[in-house]
């Protein structure tokens, strides 16, 4: 073990850790803040909130995104909502309960200290967003409304129609634009980070390619924050935006940052099924729909081709309600997804290829009326109809699980700092709070907690505690990093092979979905570990990238991302293979209870797997951070 995995969770009672830590950290004198430069890569909820808040505090900030405007970061697409332990509904919620639900939902594979802090901060997030003018849903009395999400028996999810992510991101984006106007933040849109610059063991900058001019340049700083989102697109088809990628965190991994739990992937149960070969992405139907929709398949295989309306109640299998009576349709995502797969594997799936289950609103429409349903989910129903040409007010939706979120990411300590000093990681890009499965409406919460409330404290501590010598653009480490990026770009462009970038991406995605998707086994993972390196080799010999590196070239951008996915995919399979247990989204077929639930092995696997890059062509090293549970008793998860 070579990397240092000290989690730096403060000692003392759980409820006092964060307060104590805030008192213990070093502060930067307000007059000195302007002298520090912090780079924030990413302008999603985590990045935009961090960049805006750093600037408010007085730091000199640069922020980067690959889209043409920071407002388009993938967080914009989040639909359902954001959790907070406000207990406005008086239904028994508390910080303690949100903490417990999150740890349990994550199948006891996350750090207590981090998760408790997240639950504490959740309440401040809502207040901050309201102050910014986020138009959360309201009751007639003018107070904030809530809905329920999976894995919880209280109603703690705040929302803005089906566009919660959009409204939260616009709040953060507007705060960011306010700071840009004041001169505290310099924004670099259409800019892609292609490498990390490490000098004397510390993160001191990044290498950036301007997507319009193709210019590759170093940007230097005192600290770097990565908030570059998740890597679900390693599966090609996912609910992520097309540009979502692993490049920033993968390049940093190769510069020494440990990658934690890469195999923890969330497959979301309610997405619109694949329609054809040309499919370019999958569309999520928010989990909030499970508040009012009932999931079912025909009880008998013979009924699979029958119109849903013609199948009588008695011949329907509301399998979630049957198997998990206390959580029913609101069972956590990993469980609901596997149950859908099981029903389809059993030959009872509906729609093309038998890969679909019904999500039926007929009962809710009868009970509440079509108007109420329209008010709650109108935009989602419209989106569904636009894609499938079917009217979900009249016929049940057809849904199927799809890749949605990655719980794995760069390893970070309590300060959200990676194993490279000075490199901090926030939002979906880190591994921190969701263990082996994330609960719905908790990613938005985590991204904003990291950016608005955690990093502004901990980055100051880092800057105040370390003497950072100035770095020059002529430093050998800087020149080498820039040269590496240029060499890689030229290499990609020089191959001039026969296969398109997209075809490699699709093939990789297919391997990942089949072998490292909803269910994994040793045999399949071994196969994948042979197939991926071969595919990667072919990529580097036979990919074709028309055009040059000196101007706007989307194929080149895509190629760089696929090259990194081709490496990451292998690490994911390796991680999935080594974890000889099932937990949350990681389901190893060999390890299940008699009734088919995930079977953990706490004795051997209650740890974070933090992989360390050991050099090209060498097997990565496994480091372990043991998970210590002082406040929660580990138990077999039950939603029955």
């Amino acid at each position: 073990m070579t990397v240092n995995l000290n989690s730096r969770v403060p000692a003392g009672p759980l409820t006092e850790k964060w307060d104590k830590h805030r008192f213990d950290v070093k502060l930067v004198n307000p007059a000195n803040k302007r002298k520090y430069t912090v780079l924030v890569v990413g302008s999603g909820l985590a990045g935009a909130s961090a960049a805006a808040t750093f600037s408010e505090l007085g730091y000199n900030v640069s922020c980067y995104c690959y889209q043409d405007s920071p407002r388009r970061a993938h967080s914009i697409a989040a639909q359902g909502g954001i959790n907070a332990a406000k207990n406005y509904q008086n239904d028994g919620d508390s910080i303690q309960r949100l903490f417990y639900d999150t740890i349990k939902g994550g199948d006891f594979r996350s750090r207590e200290g981090n998760v408790f802090r997240l639950a504490q901060i959740s309440v401040n997030i809502i207040d901050q967003c309201v102050a910014q003018g986020v138009p959360f849903a309201r009751e007639y009395g003018g107070l904030l409304a809530n809905r329920s999400f999976g894995g919880a028996q209280v109603s703690r999810t705040f929302y803005a129609r089906g566009q919660t992510g959009q409204q939260l991101l616009l709040g953060a984006y507007q705060a960011l634009e306010k700071e840009i106007a004041k001169g505290g933040v310099t924004m670099y849109p259409r800019s892609e980070m292609l490498d990390l610059i490490v000098v004397n063991g510390r993160a001191r900058g990044i290498v950036v390619r301007d997507e319009i001019t193709g210019k590759v340049e170093p940007h230097l700083a005192d600290a770097v924050v990565l908030a570059t989102g998740g890597y679900g697109n390693v599966f090609y088809l996912s609910t992520n935006a097309k540009g979502c990628n692993t490049t920033a965190i993968w390049r940093s991994y190769k510069r020494g940052a440990a990658f934690a739990n890469p195999c923890y992937t969330q497959i979301h149960p309610t997405c619109i099924p694949v329609a054809g070969e040309y499919q370019s992405k999958l569309t999520l139907m928010s989990e909030s729909l499970r508040n009012d929709g009932r999931v079912w398949v025909p009880r008998r295989k013979e009924d699979v081709g029958t119109a849903p309306g013609a199948i009588p109640e008695a011949d329907r299998d509301y399998y979630l309600e049957r198997k998990y009576p206390s959580f029913g349709n609101l069972s956590p995502r990993d469980i609901a997804s596997r149950a859908a797969k099981e029903a389809c594997d059993d030959g009872r799936g509906v729609g093309p290829g038998g890969r679909g289950v019904y999500l039926d609103f007929a009962d809710a429409i009868t009970r509440l009326g079509e108007d109420k349903i329209r008010e709650r989910y109108g935009n989602l129903f419209e989106m569904y109809e636009r894609i499938t040409d079917e009217n979900p007010y009249k016929v049940p939706m057809r849904i199927y699980p799809a890749v949605h979120y990655t719980m794995g990411g760069l390893w970070v300590d309590y300060n959200l700092m990676s194993t490279i000093p000075g490199l901090h990681v926030a939002g979906e890009a880190n591994f921190s709070d969701h263990g082996a499965n994330r609960l719905g409406a908790s990613a938005l919460m985590q991204g904003l907690a990291d950016g608005y409330f955690v990093l502004p404290v901990t980055i100051g501590d880092y800057l105040a505690s370390n003497r950072l010598e100035p770095v020059s653009v002529d430093a050998p480490e800087v020149k080498a990093a820039v040269a590496d990026v240029q060499a890689r770009t030229s290499k990609l462009l020089s191959i001039k092979g026969k296969r398109t970038v997209a075809s490699f991406h699709r093939e990789l995605g297919h391997i990942m979905w089949e072998k490292c998707g909803m269910a994994r086994d040793a045999a399949g993972l071994h196969q994948a570990l042979e197939m991926i390196p071969k595919l990667r080799e072919e990529f580097w010999q036979n990919v074709t990238i028309p055009g040059s590196g000196d101007d706007f070239n989307q194929t080149l951008e895509h190629a760089g991302r696929v090259a990194d996915f081709l490496e990451l995919g292998e690490l994911m399979c390796r991680d999935a293979l080594h974890r000889e247990e099932s937990c949350g989204g990681h389901f190893r077929v060999e390890h299940q209870t008699p009734d088919g639930e995930a079977l953990r092995n706490d004795e051997q696997f209650a740890y974070v797997a933090a992989w360390e890059f050991a050099g090209e062509g060498k097997a990565p090293l496994l480091n372990k951070e043991p998970l210590v549970f002082e406040n929660i008793k580990l138990s077999q998860r039950s939603y029955k």
């Binding site: 959009q166 306010k178 028309p546």
Partner: protein, 257 residues
């Protein structure tokens, strides 16, 4: 079905562009418009030709990245739909489709169908926010907001910033975009302290960029993928006029009206 595409190709901001013809064959009606272009692009790449550049990301109508003129109509023939949500079932076998970038002075072409929309960000910088720093906000339920107000604010806040309104407007005005933000924030109690100052500054910035004036043609509302109502422009104009006559720029207006 088989389609003929006439696509605007322009290699860079300074070069001349022209329409070039491509065949899109075996198009399935279930495909989205962008998936149809993906297929065309993959064929181009296989031949070593340059694929057609176009902005896109979420492909579900929310990020505002995509946008093109399809047969002269911003985002194409379906109402309330972004280009990425348009499906090929809206077209028929044998159609010829003309595809061009947003045409507006304020949106210079970068390449093919990709334009520079940074002017929209600068309008937000001019005042499209509420000036609260992180921390110290009071409890969210301390500010009760009538459901109707909050719903109307949300209607305006739904804008995805794609720029279709500008592209559709004969004058190239950004009034729907700007009005949407002025209305979203101006309808909420939290937005009152800066309400008039915001309207003044955002309108001033809009004028500084190369956007045209608004003649209330209403084309913007027709093109808007979120069907944002032209009422937001009236609201912006009222706030602007009030602000101009009472010179509020210097006098901070307080209170939670």
């Amino acid at each position: 079905m088989n389609l003929t595409l006439q696509v605007w190709r322009q290699s860079g901001p300074a070069s001349e562009g022209k329409l070039t013809e491509y065949q899109a064959t075996d198009v399935s009606p279930e495909m989205s418009f962008l998936e149809m272009l993906d297929v065309v692009n993959e064929k181009l790449a296989e031949k070593g030709d340059l694929p057609i550049a176009f902005d896109h990301d979420c492909r579900e109508g929310i990020c505002g990245s995509c946008g093109m003129m399809i047969d002269g109509v911003a985002h194409g023939p379906s109402r309330g739909t972004a280009t990425c949500q348009l499906h090929m079932r809206s077209f028929t076998d044998g159609d010829t489709i003309v595809i061009e970038p947003w045409r507006a002075q304020a949106f210079p072409v970068i390449k093919d169908l990709v334009v520079n929309r940074s002017a929209l960000d600068r309008i937000i910088q001019a005042g499209g926010y509420i000036s609260v720093a992180t921390g110290g906000a009071k409890d969210g339920n301390m500010i009760p907001i009538p459901k109707l107000d909050s719903d109307s604010a949300m209607d305006a806040a739904a804008c995805i910033g794609c720029g279709a309104c500008v592209a559709a407007c004969p004058n190239g005005s950004a009034s729907l975009f700007t009005g949407a933000k002025v209305s979203h924030l101006g309808l909420l109690p939290q937005g009152q302290p800066e309400r008039y100052r915001r309207a003044l500054r955002m309108v001033a910035q809009m004028d500084l960029e190369s956007f045209g004036g608004c003649s209330l043609f209403g084309e913007c509302m027709e093109a808007c993928p979120k069907s944002i109502s032209i009422d937001v422009i009236a609201r912006m104009n009222r706030d602007y006029v009030y602000a101009s006559v009472s010179a509020v720029e210097e006098r901070a207006l307080g209170g939670e009206g």
